[in-house]
Structure formats: C-alpha cells, structure tokens
C-alpha cells in the first residue's frame, strides 16, 4: 500500500494500562493525541503515517512529469488539480503524524536521507500519456482499497485525514479511468498505448499491497490496534476482483495468463507479482529510486532560502509590531 511493510514496535508497558488501552480500541473509541498510548502504537503510527505522507508527495513526481505535455488544456487543468490534491493529502497526513510528537521537517529529512520509505509504486517511470490513465485507475484504485477502511482506524487524527483523502481520491480514480476509456476507444495506436500502460503497471500495482502478511506478527499487532484494517492478501484480492471487469470494459487484457474466475471462492485466481523485484525496489534499486530522491532533495535544498527568508521576514514583522505597541 502507500505504507508497505510497516514494522510494529514491541511495547513493554504496564499490562493494566495496555489492557485498558486495548479495551478502548475494541469498544470503537478513537485515541486522540493527548491520550495515553503505548510507545509502540505511537512509533508504529509515526512510521506508517509518515510513509503514507511521503508516498503522496513523491507520488506527485511521476504525474507532474506529464503536466506540461497533457494532450489538451482541459486534461492539463485536471491533472494539475490532481497533483495539487496529492500535495494536500501529504499535508493532511504529515499533520496527523505531527500530533504524535514528530515535526514535518524531521519527517522530510528522514525521507531525504533514506531513513523513511515511500511506496514502491512511485519508483516506476510514467512513459506515455496512457500512464496517467493507468496510474489514476490502478494506483489510486489500489490506494482507495486501503484508505477506505482506514477511515475507521483507531487514531483520531489519522482517521480524519483519511476521510478527507477519500473524498478526493474518487475524483482521481475516475479521471484516470476516463483517460483510459478515451485511449481504449481511440485509434489502434492509442489503444495499444493503453494496453502497454496496463502491462507495465499491473504487477507493480499488485505489489502496492505488500507481500502476504498472513503469518506476520507485525500485522497481527497492527490489526489489534486498528491501524491496519485488512490483511494485504484480502485487499489485493478485492482490488483484482474489482479491476478485472473494468479492464474488460475497456477491451484491454490483464497481463496475467493464469487469471481465472474461481466461482467457488467468488473471486479471481491470479498470479503473484515478482516479489524479488519488489524487494529490490524497496531497497532502492527500482528504475526511478535515485531520480525520485534526487528530485525531492533538490526541491528541499533549493527551497531552503525561501523557507529561511519567509521565517526571517515573519520575525522582523513581529518585532516591528511589538516595538509599535
């Protein structure tokens, strides 16, 4: 997902307080920033929400890539609005993480020096305009699978951020599918371009959910804390079941020869993505890891004088105001 393979932190605290905390979660209460919480809950959430936020921000790069080359002014305005939304989503999430006692700048520095991660999917290139369609349809579609249940997560600020994100995310997926429809119904060359985008992005999209965590102790703890609502396999299955008919409608072929409707389980059987490739990508060896981090570092470094200058200006104005009073 946008947050992949988040390790939960072991917690060593008073068993009575832990039990009372778990009882609040089991009763469906929201945990708010000033409430007592286990150190592990706090640390795991900072890691998870931070990674989610970073994904929104880095996720602007593969799409920003096409803003100046959108085929029409309307498409350009729409894509611009979508990329602006991603910045907003990152901001909602950073703010949620900040309530746990870490600052946005600290998290940014951890992203830039590699201590924190972002989703593997954004390390793949967007080679053609059809990729803008496929990203909205598949990548945002996969993100929604995870974000909708996270609206019910136990941590109040995270839940509220997810509610805002989900309201906007539906626009993203629909605009992506609309691009795909246009391409799929276009000239044979345009349709081939759409098929090619699906071919390249199908398995990376399935990887977004992370490897099977059916036996993961991290996953069990996070699910008990309601900061993870479904297993990775559940969400992946749901995504495939929803997406295959949409591909059929487009007249495109999902690049998986083993794909088959399994009436007994009421879902599709499908091939696993190449998990070796996944681990390569999250350890920094994907096609665009270097480029993405370089772009974020450059933006941060080049923006330093602006951040400092505005802060100095605000300080000066404040002093003047104090002097005048």
């Amino acid at each position: 997902m946008y947050a992949q393979m988040v390790k939960s932190e072991a917690t060593q605290e008073d068993p009575e307080m832990l039990a009372a905390f778990q009882a609040r979660i089991d009763a469906g209460e929201k945990i708010e920033p000033k409430d007592w919480m286990p150190a592990g809950y706090r640390k795991t959430l900072i890691r998870q929400i931070g990674q989610h936020a970073h994904s929104e921000i880095v996720g602007q790069l593969p799409e920003g890539n096409w803003i100046t080359r959108a085929p029409t002014l309307e498409r350009k305005a729409i894509l611009l609005a979508k990329v602006q939304d991603e910045a907003g989503h990152g901001l909602y999430l950073y703010c949620a993480a900040e309530t746990l006692g870490v600052t946005r700048d600290e998290m940014t520095e951890m992203l830039l020096d590699g201590r924190m991660k972002y989703s593997s999917i954004f390390n793949y290139p967007t080679l053609t305009w059809a990729d803008m369609g496929a990203v909205g349809w598949l990548v945002d579609g996969a993100a929604i699978m995870n974000q909708v249940p996270l609206q019910r997560t136990s941590f109040g600020p995270y839940s509220r951020a997810m509610i805002r994100v989900c309201k906007e995310e539906s626009f993203h997926q629909r605009q992506g599918y609309a691009v795909m429809m246009k391409m799929a119904q276009g000239t044979p060359a345009q349709k081939a371009m759409a098929q090619n985008a699906l071919n390249r992005l199908w398995f990376p999209s399935l990887m977004m959910f992370g490897p099977s965590d059916a036996d993961s102790t991290h996953s069990v703890q996070s699910m008990a804390w309601k900061i993870k609502m479904n297993t990775n396999d559940e969400l992946r299955q749901k995504f495939v079941d929803q997406t295959v008919p949409q591909a059929e409608y487009l007249g495109l072929t999902v690049p998986d020869e083993t794909l088959n409707w399994n009436a007994e389980k009421g879902g599709y059987d499908f091939a696993e993505p190449d998990w070796d490739e996944f681990f390569e990508v999250i350890t920094g060896n994907g096609p665009c890891n270097t480029e993405r981090l370089a772009a974020r570092n450059k933006a941060w470094d080049d923006g330093k004088w602006v951040r400092d200058g505005l802060l100095a200006h605000a300080q000066k104005r404040k002093m003047r105001k104090v002097a005048a009073e």
């Binding site: 602006q84 900040e98 006692g101 946005r104 400092d308 505005l310 605000a314």
Partner: protein, 112 residues
Amino acid sequence: MSSPNSAYPDTPEAQDKPKRQEWPLWEVFIRGQHGMSHRHVGSLHAADEEMAIKNARDVYTRRNEGVSIWVVEARHIAASSPSDKGPLYEPSESKVYRHPTFFDIPDEVGAM
C-alpha cells in the same frame, strides 16, 4: 521566533530534542456555505498569519468548502486534558432535566 519542537511538545517523542527553526503550525477553521460556525478542519505550516490564510485557502477550500477562514497558531490553543474528563463532564450526566424531553406536556397543549 523559535517554533517549539512540535505543536505537541509534551509528547514523549518530542522531548529531549534540540529546538529547530521551522515554520510554526497553524490550526485552520473554516465557515462553510450555510452560515454555520467556523469549524476546525486541520492544520498547516506557514511563516506568518497571512501565508497561513493563503495556504489554508489552497489546501482546505479547493472545492468550495468555505466562505471564511480563521487561522490560529497551534501553540496559542489551550486545551483540556484527557484526565479532566471525569470532573468536567460527569456532573452534567445526572442533570437530565436540562433536556426538553424530560417534561411530559399533554398533546392537547399543542407543539411546544
């Protein structure tokens, strides 16, 4: 103006860290279209109040969500503590007569 480590400096995570020069955190309140009160919608970072309002407009009113914006620096907000929950809110639980439904008014009296 040195901003605190975070808007939540009393959290275990924020303690014992050196102070950093960061844009302060602002809480954003928006009045929706229909004459309701300003409502808290989220927060953001900005160097000063002018920029906070501009950023709030960009982040929180992109889809006609509001007609008026308030921003306040997060560190200026005083909040009740979770441990005060009992003393603060329990007294009202026993005062059911504060609700109109406490009183039985005969139907023939009409709407009241």
